[in-house]
């Protein structure tokens, strides 16, 4: 199927002048570049990729299709040595080159290790420029270990900065790597797992937009939900197999280590739920799963739900959630992007306005929409005995509401020690 069929051109003036929705994965700095390279094997054929670095040698080794070097004048083609200011100065001088690359891109996945000079310094600039050009920016940001004290502090600052510019930032703390891997995981496997997390996030969003599914979401919906938003995010996944696959996946999602990190929001004002499963995925099971997820994350009206059937998955089920919250208290968003609302109004009607997208199972989708509507009305009276025991509890971490951090020699004492010291906990 051609990408052009995916969107109704007349409905969206912003996308009209480009042949299709353009998504781009941008890796910044050493860590970002290697993440992009890792993603090459994950079949994101329809997504462009670009790597940006000052280090010419590391760029030369990269598999990415497009490469951009900058700062030759400052570093003579070598790295920044962790100097954020140097990287920022260098990129500011060559902004135009970057703008050119970002022209016409609608969706940017920004991958940048914030502990490095280039990643930390340039990521927020790239995010800003991309949003200026009208793109929606999702950033995945590996954070250095807590014991790398000065680097960690620098990364925290860069994270703050990046949050001001990107639509959603998902920090991937290295501290959590030990909790993610299995009991005997090697360092390499742990880092590979971190890469897989990025891949999961990107594929969830891309699948929502590009692939035809049972319950579809398009870019405009995504844009409405995440456009102009910043603040804390959450990102989690779960998978299950067998007869009770969906239930198992739900259970795994709720204990996903990525959801149990400091700085990760426990509730979401905007929530993106993506469920991927084999042909046996039951409709009512999907309904109740989405309802449970919404309640588990205290999601409001802003829920983007997508479900796709993949024949190759058999009885396997995967759930990915991505959410954002704290919008009220978040640092003010740099107001550079065209207002998402305007774009949205043109197509704010439900799915029916996209007949070309759903030509095959349009009827099913319509049925789905009406079902979703009725579900909403009755949702309050619905008995949720399974996970309801979590409802009354305080969903936020106990030290979440404190304004100041509990710093001692560069470490935040409110963050669990086992995370900072890299002690693996096997449940």
């Amino acid at each position: 199927m051609n990408q052009e069929n995916f969107l109704e051109p007349s409905a969206n003036p912003h996308l009209q002048d480009c042949p299709g929705l353009r998504a781009m994965i941008i890796g910044v700095g050493g860590a970002g570049t290697s993440l992009v390279d890792g993603l090459r094997f994950d079949n994101f054929d329809y997504v462009e990729n670009l790597v940006i670095d000052v280090d010419v040698r590391s760029l030369a080794d990269s598999l990415a299709a497009e490469k951009l070097t900058f700062g030759r004048r400052h570093t003579r083609g070598m790295g920044t040595g962790g100097d954020v200011k140097l990287a920022r100065r260098a990129i500011e001088e060559e902004k135009d080159k970057l703008r050119e690359k970002l022209d016409g891109v609608d969706l940017v996945f920004l991958l940048a290790g914030l502990g490095g000079g280039t990643g930390g310094g340039v990521a927020s600039v790239v995010a800003r420029l991309a949003r200026e050009r009208g793109a929606l920016v999702f950033a995945f940001a590996p954070m250095p270990f807590s014991w790398e004290k000065s680097r960690h502090a620098q990364a925290e600052e860069c994270l703050e900065d990046l949050r001001k510019h990107a639509n959603a930032v998902i920090p991937l703390p290295n501290d959590s790597l030990l909790q993610i891997g299995g009991p005997d995981a090697t360092a390499l496997e742990c880092f590979a797992e971190a890469g897989r997390n990025v891949s999961r996030g990107i594929s969830a969003i891309c699948n929502l937009i590009y692939r035809k599914g049972m319950i579809d979401v398009d870019f405009v919906h995504l844009r409405k939900a995440f456009g102009g938003r910043a603040g804390r995010t959450l990102f989690g996944y779960g998978k299950g197999a067998g007869k009770d696959g969906l239930r198992e996946a739900m259970r795994e999602l709720l204990v996903c280590p990525m959801l149990h990190l400091p700085d990760v929001s426990k509730a979401a004002d905007i929530l993106l739920i993506f469920i991927n499963g084999g042909p046996n995925l039951g409709m009512s099971a999907l309904q109740s799963a989405s309802q449970e997820i919404r309640e588990a994350f205290k999601a409001g009206e802003q829920v983007v739900f997508g479900a796709h059937v993949d024949e190759n998955m058999g009885d396997e089920v995967r759930i990915i959630v991505l959410g954002a919250t704290d919008l009220g208290t978040a640092s003010p968003m740099a107001d550079v992007a065209p207002p998402a609302q305007e774009v949205f109004h043109a197509t704010s009607k439900p799915k029916e306005t996209h007949p070309s997208r759903l030509s095959i199972n349009q009827k099913e989708a319509k049925k789905m929409v009406s079902k979703r509507g009725s579900k909403k009305k009755t949702s309050e009276s619905l008995e949720q005995n399974t996970f309801s025991f979590m409802e009354d509890q305080n969903q936020r971490g106990i030290f979440d509401n404190l304004p100041s951090r509990n710093m001692y020699e560069g470490e935040d004492l409110d963050v669990p020690t086992y995370l900072r010291r890299g002690v693996q906990i096997n449940l």
Binding site: Q179, H260, F389, G397, I398, L402, T417, L427
Partner: protein, 401 residues
């Protein structure tokens, strides 16, 4: 004639009120005590004034009801990471012609020492007397001794005006006067470390829910106090995150199965989180619970060791380390403390006159408040009426008097 005195500790997890009766020639008797959960605090500092007020007031009302009397004024414990201690010293020349030290010489030195004011926005809350020096020699009571110069040294604890004020307001809004503010660690030490331990040298660690208070004593006098903003809540928080359960369940798991150190000889077993066999329940390994707790507790003692620096000298701590406070209930915590601090540690024991139901580690501070208040903390040779260490002299400025 008997006198009723009250003590209040506004702790991070619980507010405690105590009513005591002292009569001539008899030891203190506790006639009322109540504890109420407190949800308005984090790490020893008030975040929700109304919640704190309610729990303090209900605790006080209940303690009063139990005692059948009313309390007019209380001693209030102070803690929180905003507190910091420093040494204040001042000297006075012996004024009398025969060279004998008089009480007024001491008073002059003391006034001089207390004249110093901390920087703006901070006030002294508690002066703890350190040794008196007569011509450079430490003496217990110099009055009547011959010398040229007496020097008085205080360990002065200062804190943020707004935090202290919030504490006072809680008491005042119940119509109570505050007799004095007393540092929590000093109060606890009064109870769990007697004069003999203090002479031998002792480190008292009071592990609360929100903060850990410490006080070190050498040759009978306080040498250092500190507050570390890590407590039992952090252990529960770590468990909640590490086991991926909600806070109340983490707290329950900590109390039921928590160990400061995993027993490597024991077989690892799984325990249920809610134990209600509901659909969302899971089993977690006890080893996971104890490993999460262990690293946190080890880190806490490492921070204590760093904070104490040279004060942590086994030769000067003859009586070792005494652990008290609710978080010290954690089984095996004394072994971890001994290992990290390099000084033998044990859990606190209470004086025998304190009833069994009161002699609990989490009551050390509030019981200690009353004992400290009754102790003679006056300067040698000072008449009782002349005692000038009341709250007004300390924070009169803060109250606008």
């Amino acid at each position: 004639m008997s006198k009723i005195i009250g003590a209040v500790e506004i702790g991070t997890s619980k507010a405690k009120a105590l009513v005591g009766e002292v009569s001539e020639g008899k030891p203190l008797s506790i006639v009322g005590m109540a504890t109420r959960p407190n949800e308005g605090m984090r790490k020893g500092e008030i975040i929700d004034f109304n919640k704190v007020g309610t729990s303090v007031h209900t605790a006080l009302a209940e303690a009063e009801k139990m005692s059948g009397t009313t309390v007019d004024s209380i001693y209030l414990a102070q803690t929180g990471s905003h507190l910091s201690g420093s040494v204040l010293r001042a000297s006075a020349n012996v004024s009398s012609s025969d060279g004998r030290v008089s009480a007024s010489d001491l008073q002059r030195a003391a006034d001089e020492a207390k004249r110093r004011k901390p920087e703006n926005g901070r006030s002294y809350v508690h002066y703890v007397r350190m040794p008196i020096l007569l011509d450079g020699r430490p003496v217990e009571d110099p009055v009547g001794m011959i010398g040229k110069k007496v020097e008085i040294v205080y360990w002065a604890i200062e804190g943020n005006d707004s935090a202290i004020r919030a504490n006072l307001d809680v008491a005042n809004s119940y119509g109570l006067e505050v007799d004095d503010l007393i540092l929590s660690s000093i109060a606890s030490s009064t109870l769990v470390a007697g004069p003999d331990l203090k002479r031998a040298g002792v480190l008292v660690i009071d592990m609360g829910a929100g903060v850990t208070d410490l006080a070190i004593y050498r040759s009978g006098h306080v040498a250092y106090t500190g507050v570390i903003p890590v407590g039992g809540d952090h252990v529960s928080g770590d468990l909640a995150m590490g086991l991926r359960v909600f806070e109340p369940y983490a707290e329950k798991l900590k109390l039921t199965y928590g160990l400061a150190q995993h027993d490597s000889s024991a077989q690892d077993e799984k325990v249920w989180i809610t134990n209600e066999k509901t659909i969302g329940d899971r089993a977690v390994s006890r080893k996971a619970i104890s490993s999460i707790i262990h690293v946190r507790v080890v880190e806490l003692f490492e921070i204590i060791a760093k904070e104490l620096g040279d004060f942590l000298n086994p030769e000067e701590l003859g009586a070792g380390v005494v652990l008290t406070g609710g978080a010290s209930r954690l089984p095996g915590i004394e072994q971890v403390a001994s290992m990290v601090l390099g000084v033998p540690a044990r859990k606190a024991t209470f004086p025998s006159e304190i009833g069994k139901d009161l002699a609990q580690p989490e009551n050390a501070t509030v019981l200690g408040l009353l004992h400290y208040a009754l102790e003679d903390n006056r300067l040698p040779g000072q008449p009782k009426s002349n005692e000038n260490s009341g709250i007004l002299s300390k924070i009169g400025g803060l109250l606008g008097i």
